[in-house]
């Protein structure tokens, strides 16, 4: 079923290969940016993917890319289709789809705050979402080291000290080595 949908869309929108490694009824496909809106519209209005389950991002810091995943659901046929879109990490500007699904505005607000991906035109996108008074880099970016930040902000309780068995044993058993 998924394959049929894919075949109908693939050539018109130059989709990447259909990735069906996950469970049955769930597939992912890569697509290019200029086709995002037409594909989403087509899927929603023609193919019955009426529900945007989530919109989330992955930080592929090694490739200098953000990957946006639009996960859609077709309730009638019990199908889930994920559209994957890659953005330049240094110029992270996505395209808002709040007019297709109003709920996307919330996801986009979250992505703006947690990943620093801009969505020009999305309602209230620049307002604070979860964080309050956040001035550092967006915390879901992978170059944000949460442990280091935590230790620089919220000091550990004192009196914690640990020894590595191999070093400790070496020093005691072979003090001169």
């Amino acid at each position: 079923m998924m394959q049929a949908i894919y075949d109908r869309l693939k050539d018109r929108f130059q989709l990447g290969a259909l990735d069906v490694r996950s469970r049955k009824g769930l597939a992912f496909v890569d697509l290019r940016r200029e086709f995002l809106r037409p594909v989403l519209t087509e899927l929603r209005d023609v193919e019955g993917f009426t529900h945007l389950i989530l919109l989330t991002a992955v930080d592929w810091i090694e490739d200098e890319r953000f990957q946006l995943t639009y996960l859609l659901n077709n309730r009638q046929k019990n199908l889930d289709l994920g559209l994957r879109l890659r953005l330049d990490r240094n110029l992270a500007i996505g395209e808002t789809i709040h007019d297709l699904w109003p709920t996307a505005a919330t996801y986009q607000r979250e992505l703006r705050e947690m990943f620093g991906i801009a969505f020009p035109g999305s309602p209230r996108v620049d307002e604070e979402f979860i964080l309050e008074g956040w001035t550092d880099m967006p915390p879901y970016r992978r170059d944000f080291d949460t442990l280091a930040y935590s230790q620089q902000t919220h000091a550990d309780r004192e009196g914690r000290e640990t020894s590595d068995p191999r070093e400790f044993m070496k020093q005691i058993l072979y003090p001169k080595d």
């Binding site: 008074g133 956040w134 001035t135 550092d136 880099m137 949460t146 280091a148 902000t153 550990d156």
Partner: protein
């Protein structure tokens, strides 16, 4: 042990801009007057908390303390996951009411603030306001690992680790989360402490007010409230 980037430095330079609605501004009233409004000054009380003396007669204070201990009103504000452990206490299974422990829905009427687990910076702000709205003598109990040293959220960018730096804590109860029985045992200990006249957290807070405020402001960057919220 989790990997940590030794070169990571948090941004300590950027100041969080004051919120628009808190900036001083001029407002035209319906009858045409133009008045200055400075929200932080006008909307809130600016008076720091005072140290309150004990009753002059020891026997009276002892009696009061006994009553305070036997009428422990807890604020029903679930700050973290431990809130779920208080429900069995309210309900028939453990029925804490028989020990004089009751839950109140408003900080004004509560004497005991339970910090029931992790406190994100955002919740900390609410907890501080809540605590300051409570009437003394008031008590704070920290539940579980998170309040002691960060617990599961030890590496979180947004969760505080040591509760006693922000609020005067009377008692910690270990667990993740502590079971209702452990909570009850903790309450009994707190009662003993109150009866002995040692639960003077509110006065401690007033005495070390500047220290507490400095700690609070070190983590709450958008301090959009007055220093003292009664």
């Amino acid at each position: 042990m989790k990997h940590m980037d030794p070169n990571f430095r948090k941004d300590t330079k950027t100041e969080f801009p004051q919120r628009e609605e808190l900036k001083p501004r001029k407002v035209t009233t319906p009858d045409g007057q133009v008045i200055d409004i400075e929200p932080l000054q006008d909307y809130f009380c600016q008076e720091p908390p005072k140290v309150h003396q004990k009753s002059y007669f020891k026997i009276v204070e002892d009696f009061y303390n006994w009553c305070r201990a036997e009428s422990l009103w807890i604020l029903a504000f679930g700050t973290g996951c431990g809130a779920i452990e208080m429900r069995p206490l309210m309900t028939p299974r453990f029925d804490a009411y028989r020990y004089g422990i009751q839950w109140r829905a408003t900080p004004r009427q509560a004497n005991l603030l339970m910090i029931s687990g992790y406190l994100s910076v955002k919740t900390l702000k609410r907890a501080i306001r809540t605590y300051e709205q409570m009437q003394g003598p008031k008590y704070v109990v920290g539940l579980g690992s998170c309040t002691i040293n960060g617990g599961m959220y030890w590496d979180s960018y947004n969760t505080i680790k040591k509760l006693e730096e922000y609020l005067p804590v009377d008692l910690y109860i270990a667990g993740c989360m502590p079971r209702p029985e452990a909570l009850l045992a903790g309450f009994m200990e707190l009662k003993k402490k109150i009866k002995a006249g040692n639960a003077e957290g509110a006065n401690k807070y007033a005495e070390k007010f500047d220290w507490y405020k400095a700690n609070q402001k070190a983590v709450i960057k958008d301090w959009d409230m007055p220093d003292y919220n009664w």
